[in-house]
């Protein structure tokens, strides 16, 4: 804070002001006023300040921070804007004694401005009028400026001083002829069954002011604190409404509701004497919060129900607050609290049992928290709290129940850190779903643990697969790979999976063999299948070794023929192929020979085999080598309709014209017979 020139002792008075979100201090030193902010101190002079002021005794900023009032030692009051740019009015009260308090008293949107000054036993309201209003105070009092007036507290009383609202003034001013006043009068006369009611009503209607009259009565009712007066004004409004065609009902209805709420909270048991304007400014939500803070739960709930607020914002929220309070009652047993809460809350939508449980846990009541969590339907809320409370096993079963695997994982990792390995595995063992999820996790993150898990469960089949995988992924050296396979084979035997065990032993044999082949012949053999190893050997001219391998691994004859056929054709070793085809009778027939030669575009070789194809596939073979004429002959000889059509579909161009005719003739003949 900067220095204030000439400030030796405490300032005679000071106040805080707020402009454009910046806080200032206004401070009086003798006849001078200074405005301070965090950096500077500047002397200010209120415009139009009367002369002769030697010190300021009081200053007051209005509720809205817009206006400022200064009380000087001459009994003179200056009123102006807080910016100190404009004077609104001034007043001389001729009392030089320093007042105890000075506060602004105004109403939002009202043009009237007034300041209330209090001395020991005297209260004066001053404003833009030559005369002030004086009141006598019976006791020591304290003033509190509020939104729309001033509260005056003493040891035994609580009063509210405010500017009379326009509507009330219009209606209750003596001899008022305002429409609202006339309507109120009309209604009273109506109740007395006097014809004057009609006269008053007519008077309003003639001026076309009935809607304003109703509106005034509704508004004035809002500002009344005494229920009887509220009622009589509302009755007048309701009476006036009967003579109007289209008067929207909501303002009337809403006012009735608001007044009922206001009357309820103004009751001395509750003691929240809000004015209508304050209530509106505050909003119902804030009012409910205040009731909740005062633990007035039943009233709050009644208000919610009466106003039909949505459950989530209304009743549920209050019940949740109630429950949070309830869990703090240490003298009640966990059982009783949990039951009481559940009885009240049931499945009320929007109530978070986990929030309540968290509160209970916060108060050190873990058992209660767990009981409450039983009622929580959302596992996503339930589980993390259980974990926080170190009830991991319970959390695990809740997570599993929910089917949400992410939750299960979360608990698992938690458990893993919390428990020692043995206990952790035991826990898993009792939860198959968790176990399989954890296995998945290990597969990607911790391979070794996976092995331990299989071991623990005596799951030899999976253990075998694990080692098989390791023989491909983890091991580079051939010895290591074979060792992994040996482990796999052992596991497969234990799993009574003879087939897999044998196949694994074969693979070990094959790996060693391939290694030897690579050393002796060069080239790449490792990780080829048995089939491909034999093929590779034939392709590199190692026919003997190929034969040996095929025998060692007992490759079935048919497949071996296919294998050789394909390999020799790939080599285009036609001589060897022919020799092979004559080595004994082909177990796969000779059509494959024709096909493979044609695939290599060797019609010459293909024709050699076509003649050896058995009768069933002869036509197909002949067509493949392009001998349509002979194919036709065979088909006709077979008297096979399907074969004849097949040949016919191959008859293209002029050259086959004769053949086509031949078939057609044969067909015709066949049909004759």
């Amino acid at each position: 804070m900067p220095e204030v020139p000439g400030l030796q002792s405490a300032p005679s008075c000071w106040t805080t002001m707020c402009q454009d979100r910046v806080a200032h201090i206004l401070l009086a030193v003798g006849p001078d006023l200074y405005l301070l902010d965090h950096a500077a101190c500047s002397a200010v002079t209120p415009p139009g300040l009367a002369a002769g002021v030697s010190s300021f005794l009081q200053m007051a900023v209005s509720f809205t921070y817009r206006h400022l009032a200064l009380f000087t030692d001459t009994g003179y009051i200056w009123m102006g804007t807080a910016s100190l740019k404009e004077k609104l009015c001034e007043f001389n009260c001729n009392i030089r004694a320093p007042p105890k308090q000075m506060v602004w008293c105004s109403r939002p949107r009202s043009k009237e401005r007034a300041v209330v000054v209090a001395w020991e036993r005297r209260l004066m309201v001053v404003g833009d009028a030559p005369e002030g209003i004086q009141f006598v105070l019976d006791e020591d009092s304290y003033l509190v400026p509020e939104l729309d007036g001033v509260r005056i507290f003493s040891r035994s009383t609580h009063e509210f001083l405010h500017e009379v609202p326009v509507a009330s003034e219009e209606i209750f001013k003596i001899a008022s002829m305002a429409p609202g006043a006339l309507l109120l009068e009309a209604q009273k006369e109506y109740e007395k069954e006097s014809q004057k009611a009609d006269e008053y009503l007519r008077e309003i209607q003639e001026l076309g002011q009935l809607p304003q009259a109703v509106q005034q009565c509704i508004e004035a009712a809002g500002h009344e604190h005494w229920p009887d007066m509220q009622k009589s004004l509302l009755r007048a409004a309701s009476f006036g409404k009967c003579f109007l065609d289209r008067f929207p009902p909501d303002s009337f209805v809403r006012m009735c509701q608001d007044l009922r709420v206001l009357n309820a909270i103004r009751d001395y048991h509750i003691g929240i004497p809000l004015t209508y304007s304050q209530y509106k400014q505050l909003t119902i939500q804030v009012l409910l919060d205040r009731l909740v803070l005062r633990r007035l739960y039943p009233l709050a709930i009644q208000i919610c129900e009466y106003l039909r607020l949505p459950e989530v914002q209304g009743v549920s929220r209050i019940l949740a607050h109630w429950a949070c309070y309830k869990v703090q009652q240490k003298d009640v047993s966990d059982e009783d609290v949990a039951r009481a809460i559940n009885q009240k809350l049931g499945d009320t939508p929007g109530v978070s049992y986990s929030d309540i449980a968290a509160r209970a846990y916060g108060c050190g009541r873990t058992e209660l928290a767990i009981k409450l969590l039983e009622y929580e339907p959302r596992s996503g809320e339930q589980v993390p709290l259980l974990l926080k409370m170190k009830r991991s096993k319970l959390a695990l079963s809740k997570a599993i129940e929910s089917g949400d695997t992410d939750l299960v994982f979360t608990v698992l990792l938690h458990l893993k850190n919390e428990l020692n390995r043995g206990d952790f595995f035991m826990t898993l063992r009792n939860q198959p779903m968790a176990l399989s999820l954890y296995r998945q996790f290990c597969k990607h993150q911790e391979l070794e643990t996976l092995k331990d898990l299989y071991n623990q469960d005596d799951n030899h089949q999976e253990l075998g697969s694990f080692h098989v995988r390791a023989s491909y992924a983890a091991e580079e050296r051939i010895e290591g790979r074979v060792a992994a396979l040996q482990a796999a084979a052992d596991a497969f035997y234990k799993a009574k999976n003879e087939f897999a065990a044998k196949a694994t032993e074969d693979q070990m044999r094959l790996l060693r063999l391939q290694r030897r082949l690579e050393d002796e012949l060069g080239g790449r053999f490792l990780d080829l299948s048995v089939h491909d190893t034999v093929t590779t050997l034939i392709l590199s001219g190692q026919n003997k070794r190929a034969e040996q391998l095929a025998r060692d691994f007992r490759i079935p004859d048919k497949r071996l023929w296919w294998l050789k056929l394909t390999a020799l054709a790939d080599l285009e070793d036609w001589e060897e192929l022919e020799k092979f085809s004559k080595s004994k009778k082909s177990p796969i027939g000779y059509l494959p020979f024709v096909e493979i030669c044609m695939k290599q575009h060797n019609k010459y070789e293909a024709k050699k085999y076509a003649s050896r194809v058995g009768p069933e596939q002869k036509v197909k073979a002949l067509l493949l080598v392009g001998d349509v004429a002979q194919a036709a002959d065979v088909a006709i000889e077979h008297r096979n309709e399907a074969e004849m059509s097949l040949v016919l579909s191959h008859c293209t161009g002029a050259t086959d014209g004769a053949t086509a005719d031949k078939i057609q003739r044969a067909r015709a003949q066949a049909q004759k017979k």
Binding site: E311, V312, D347, P349, G350, P377, R378, P384, S402, G403, D404, T405, D406, L407, F409, T410, L413, P432, M433, S436, L437, R439, Q440, H444, Q445, D457, D458, N459, H460, Q461, E462, S465, V468, R469, Y472, A495, F499, A500, A503, T504, D506, Q507, L510, D527, L528, S529, V530, H531, D532, F553, I555, P556, K558, R559, W562, L563, T566, I588
Partner: protein, 565 residues
């Protein structure tokens, strides 16, 4: 844009709009220009609900694929990672964030988890020290994606594998969540029927099926979730009358057989991914004269296949043998329409003709595309090998020679045909024989290992674990009973104007379709014996509706089926 989604009996655009809205809301939370870093797997499914234009409208300026080291340079305010909740992806993200250049302009990071936010992943990010770098961490529950007017898909291709090989039922949880979303939009589904187990594998052995298990999975999760969602009492009149939950395990046969509809064959031959297919480009070269074929496109032709395309909607589900005639008829209609221009004499007539031109040209383009595709497919289906394979499949499905080694399969192995083809046939034979005789099974397995390599011992074990391949136990083949009762094999199939679903496989009627048919009429009570043979329990559950939303009993009322708990 997605009008075809609203043509069905249920307007699926409602769902599509709901998921799009959710996406827009998230994008708007990250104010300013953005770049999206994609988990590559998700781009396909996302493409079905939001094109780039939508992202662009919300200031997405750049898109990258998620990969290690540093992020590519981009002058944007926000970086959004759109990822599946997987640990390995978290590691990559952390690497990206940590190698961010501190000297460059500060950028905001966000994560959108699809379909579920994960505590596990967030913990990992925390361990890696980057969790605090993310401003928004949210989830985008893209569970059921509107696929076509009558089809929703989770696009979760690993679901069966996860459930049966890894005992990981995450996908079931997502399915239940997706169904909850569906009910929130379309009303509570009053009746749920189901069939199938999700057998737990313990110690490598199958434990006896737990009748409540499937329940506990999808149906029970739904009922549980309903409790979580109370508060928003569902007051929508139910659009769906029934929900039928079928475990894939109940019908392993159908996906093994070769599909024979037009769409099915496109999928068999070229593979349809997220409704897109990539085709060899040669057939689709622009036919312009004078080009001399020098700029043949080398990149695969990518086409989207859905019912938004009028012609495709008409032929997609036809047996391929019936497609040719439709195409030639269409060709005639279109060329006749173009000929119309000669008849247009008055200005009015010409104007009308011109106004129809865009539609006609689109139709002509579509016809040209499908004619090319049909030609490509025909090359395959007329091949001898295709015919042989189909013959074997059909023999198996109609119960011929399923108990001995098949020589065609032997030849396929000997000639090293693609392994997947061999495995499909062997598994098909196994399913049609309630498992293979130990000798036959071992023979096939040995042949496969010798030919394709020993490493496939793991492949074969996985097939056995999933029940696709198994030794016959108990000695009785139950498939013939199932086949006869459910009429799975139909001899008289009309491929051109079908009256029975068996036309889709030219003889075989998909088991799951038969189950649905029988459920609607006369009810499952009539097939109790078969239901006992098929794996897993069957169940029925009613979900109470709020008063006022009950439907009057109509002809779609089913009787309660047997329930054993």
């Amino acid at each position: 844009m997605a009008a075809h989604l609203s043509y069905g009996r249920v307007n699926l655009n409602v769902l599509r709009e709901a998921v799009r809205r959710e996406l827009r809301e998230f994008l708007d939370k990250c104010a300013g220009s953005k770049a999206i870093v994609w988990d590559e797997y998700l781009t396909g499914p996302f493409g079905l609900i939001a094109q780039y234009s939508l992202l662009k409208e919300h200031e997405v300026e750049k898109m990258f694929t998620l990969k290690g080291s540093r992020l590519p340079a981009a002058d944007v305010k926000n970086i959004i990672f759109v990822v599946r909740p997987r640990l390995e992806l978290m590691d990559i993200i952390a690497e990206n964030v940590l190698s961010e250049d501190r000297r460059g302009p500060a950028r905001d990071f966000h994560i959108l988890f699809v379909p579920r936010r994960s505590l596990l992943c967030e913990q990992r990010l925390k361990d890696l020290g980057v969790l605090g770098s993310f401003i928004h961490r949210e989830e985008y529950s893209l569970d059921l994606i509107p696929f076509d007017g009558d089809l929703l898909s989770m696009e979760s291709e690993g679901a069966f594998k996860e459930c049966y090989l890894e005992s990981d039922q995450t996908s079931l949880y997502h399915a239940a969540k997706g169904l909850m979303t569906l009910q929130a939009l379309y009303g509570t589904i009053p009746q749920i029927f189901g069939k199938g187990e999700c057998a737990r594998v313990r110690n490598g052995r199958r434990v006896p099926p737990d009748p409540m298990f499937c329940f506990q999975q999808v149906a029970n999760m739904m009922i549980r979730m309903k409790r979580e969602f109370t508060g928003s009492q569902n007051s929508i009149f139910p659009v769906f009358d029934n929900l039928l939950l079928l475990d894939r395990n109940v019908d392993l046969l159908t996906p093994l057989a070769t599909q024979l509809t037009y769409e099915g064959l496109i999928d068999e031959i070229y593979g349809i991914q997220n409704s897109y297919v990539k085709l060899p480009p040669e057939k689709f070269a622009p036919k312009k004269q004078g080009d001399g074929g020098k700029d043949l496109p080398t990149e695969a032709k990518k086409l989207q296949l859905n019912s938004a395309e009028e012609l495709y909607a008409e032929i997609r589900d036809k047996n391929f043998n019936a497609v040719g005639s439709v195409l030639s008829k269409k060709a005639k209609v279109i060329s006749a329409a173009f000929e119309e221009r000669h008849n247009a004499k008055t200005v009015g007539e010409i104007k009308q003709f011109v106004s129809q031109l865009p539609h006609m040209q689109a139709a002509r383009g579509s016809l040209a595309n499908h004619t090319s595709i049909a030609e490509l497919i025909k090359d395959v289906t007329t091949s001898e090998d295709f015919f042989d394979k189909l013959t074997v499949e059909q023999e198996f499905m109609s119960g011929i020679d399923t108990d001995k080694v098949n020589s065609y399969i032997e030849d396929c192995i000997a000639q090293k045909h693609p392994l997947i083809k061999v495995l499909r046939l062997v598994c098909l034979q196994s399913v049609c024989n309630s498992g293979l005789k130990q000798k036959v099974l071992d023979y096939y397995k040995r042949e496969i290992l010798q030919t394709y390599g020993y490493e496939h011992i793991l492949t074969l074990y996985n097939l056995e674990k999933a029940g696709l391949l198994k030794p016959q136990t108990g000695g009785r083949n139950t498939y013939p009973t199932v086949r006869k009762t459910l009429r799975l094999w139909m001899d008289d199939v009309n491929e051109q104007n079908p009256t029975d679903i068996s036309y889709v496989y030219s003889g075989y009627a998909p088991l799951s379709v038969r189950l649905a048919q029988l459920l609607s009429r006369p009810g499952w009570r009539s097939i109790e014996e078969v239901l006992r043979i098929l794996p897993g329990p069957h169940f029925e559950e009613r979900q109470p509706l709020p008063t006022g939303l009950q439907k009057k009993p109509g002809r779609w009322r089913y009787r309660i089926c047997h329930r054993h708990h």
